[in-house]
């Protein structure tokens, strides 16, 4: 029996049958269910509920605040696990300076408290509890030193305690926190009113899109002309997602996962267009790039296909810059070791192979001073997502 796969994004949704893929811009005056059934009702009615699979990245995921002891270990590990659980919105607080941070006014979906190997004690005190008292959050989980558990349990209501994510050799332990966050994310998606109504058309569990994509990655080099190590770039309307082979980081994070995920929440071409342009204007190479593309900065004021193309090209360039050693970031990838760059999402419908290759070689020449030229693989038919979604 054939399956119907539906992916709800922040800007558009796609519907995939065995024969074709349809892609539609979302109408924000309607809720998702009405919009979907209005545009694809015919197709959907042709399938039993059991054969319809839905995933969504539309709600932007959980908002997360991590309070940890240091950048290089607790915060970095927790952030890595959160990204791999599909979470996009992550704020971090270094515990020793907690009193210098302003308290976020928005409701935080989940607070993660972490720090220390199990034998480290006397880590957290009243400053933590005072901060948490002022913070507005729905869930709180502790994944730090076991020596601190009793103290925290006594002082924090409804605290979930999971095994330490830092082992006694200072290595990362992912599984427990990842499972907790993935379930929370799942529950959050399903709890959103307009996603909930989608259970009228499917009897299968609705998953988050990054979770689906992440599952496919180990299969990629067998199914596509992709050569390891590679990065996968998914430029969306609101965020840009990067999935990358672990071989590309020189890092203290040694995990079981072969692939990690990273999100740039302000680099999207629709919903976060303004911040993408802001990032472009602050990059010293942007004007050279625009000249190279034979346009001027006036293009930022325009709309239409040419403007969209340029924005997408800029997004690729900025994302590569952010991951390179040119910018010190949360993670720097060894971009000179990449064999393939895989692009998926709406971008494959807008840019040609040549237009993408052009940007990539501009990046390598200008920023890395290199003639290195990874092959570009375009996931034009959403095969990556289809493969992951079908695997359920």
């Amino acid at each position: 029996m054939s399956k119907l796969l539906i992916d709800i994004g922040s800007t558009y949704f796609k519907v995939c049958t065995d024969k074709a893929i349809e892609q539609h811009f979302r109408d924000f005056n309607k809720d998702i269910y009405d919009d979907l059934t209005h545009k694809c009702g015919e197709t959907i009615r042709g399938y039993e509920k059991g054969d319809v699979y839905v995933c969504s990245s539309a709600n932007g995921g959980l908002s997360t605040l991590i309070i940890g002891l240091t950048d290089s270990y607790s915060l970095k590990y927790a952030k890595n696990i959160a990204f791999n659980s599909g979470i996009n919105i992550i704020e971090t607080v270094i515990y020793q300076n907690i009193e210098d941070y302003s308290i976020p006014s928005d409701l935080i979906d989940v607070v993660i408290v972490v720090g220390g190997i199990d034998s480290a004690s006397n880590i957290f005190d009243a400053t933590l509890f005072g901060y948490l008292d002022k913070l507005n959050y729905s869930n709180i989980v502790y994944v730090g030193s076991s020596a601190e558990v009793a103290n925290l349990q006594k002082n924090i209501n409804d605290l979930i305690v999971l095994p330490n994510i830092i082992d006694n050799k200072l290595h990362i332990v992912e599984e427990n926190l990842k499972e907790y966050l993935t379930n929370l994310y799942q529950a959050d998606i399903v709890g959103k009113e307009d996603i909930k109504s989608l259970y009228d058309i499917t009897s299968n569990q609705i998953y988050s899109t990054p979770y689906i994509v992440n599952k496919t990655l180990p299969l990629l080099d067998a199914n596509f002309s992709v050569v390891n190590p590679y990065i996968l770039i998914d430029i969306g309307g609101a965020t840009t997602d990067i999935h990358y082979s672990k071989d590309l980081v020189d890092d203290n994070i040694v995990t079981q996962n072969e692939y990690d995920r990273l999100v740039f929440k302000k680099l999207g071409v629709y919903k976060s267009k303004e911040s993408l342009i802001f990032a472009a204007e602050n990059n010293e190479f942007t004007y050279e790039l625009l000249t190279h593309l034979k346009v001027t900065e006036n293009i930022f004021e325009e709309s239409g296909e040419k403007a969209l193309k340029v924005l997408m090209q800029l997004a690729i360039f900025l994302v590569l810059c952010k991951m390179s050693h040119y910018k010190k970031a949360y993670i720097n990838l060894k971009l000179l070791s990449i064999n393939s760059i895989v692009l998926t999402g709406g971008i494959t419908k807008v840019l040609s192979d040549e237009e993408i290759e052009d940007i990539i070689s501009f990046f390598y020449t200008k920023i890395l001073n290199s003639k290195h030229n990874p092959t570009v693989v375009m996931d034009k038919n959403y095969d990556i997502w289809t493969l992951g979604a079908k695997g359920n």
């Binding site: 290089s72 480290a120 830092i166 200072l170």
Partner: protein, 137 residues
């Protein structure tokens, strides 16, 4: 006693690093080895996460001075490292210089124990003495 160790900067000389881990273990220390290519922030961060007593930095390729100059400034940003014993050894200058000039210089950079081209065991004996004295006083 917990010791964080590693080789600072872009230094890939790994042999001494392995020996240091083995020797410290044999002397009963709990060792956190960050390996080669380690930045100062990572050393201090590791000391915080493990609640370490000693930070033992190696430098073999001649980069030590460049990094050591930054030590005081970076360490001063941490609020919980005041009791950390700071130790450095290896080849601490490019070319030759004698201990009389090198040791005071590195002490000034914030190190308690400085070993330029000193054999490892001598260095670790000195460390143990130092820790014992620290406990008495």
């Amino acid at each position: 006693m917990k010791v964080v160790t590693g080789v600072v900067g872009n230094d890939i000389h790994v042999v001494a690093n392995r020996l240091i881990e083995l020797s410290l273990n044999a002397r009963g220390f709990e060792v956190f080895n960050l390996g080669v290519n380690t930045y100062l922030e990572e050393f201090f961060d590791a000391a915080v996460e493990t609640n370490a007593d000693v930070l033992l930095i190696s430098s073999l390729n001649g980069e030590a001075e460049g990094w050591a100059r930054e030590v005081k400034l970076i360490k001063s940003k941490y609020k919980t490292l005041d009791n950390l014993v700071m130790m450095i050894g290896g080849n601490l200058v490019v070319g030759t210089a004698d201990a009389d000039t090198i040791v005071p210089k590195y002490k000034n950079y914030g190190f308690d124990l400085v070993f330029h081209q000193v054999d490892l065991n001598t260095g670790l004996d000195t460390l143990e003495e130092y820790l014992k004295e620290g406990k008495v006083s």
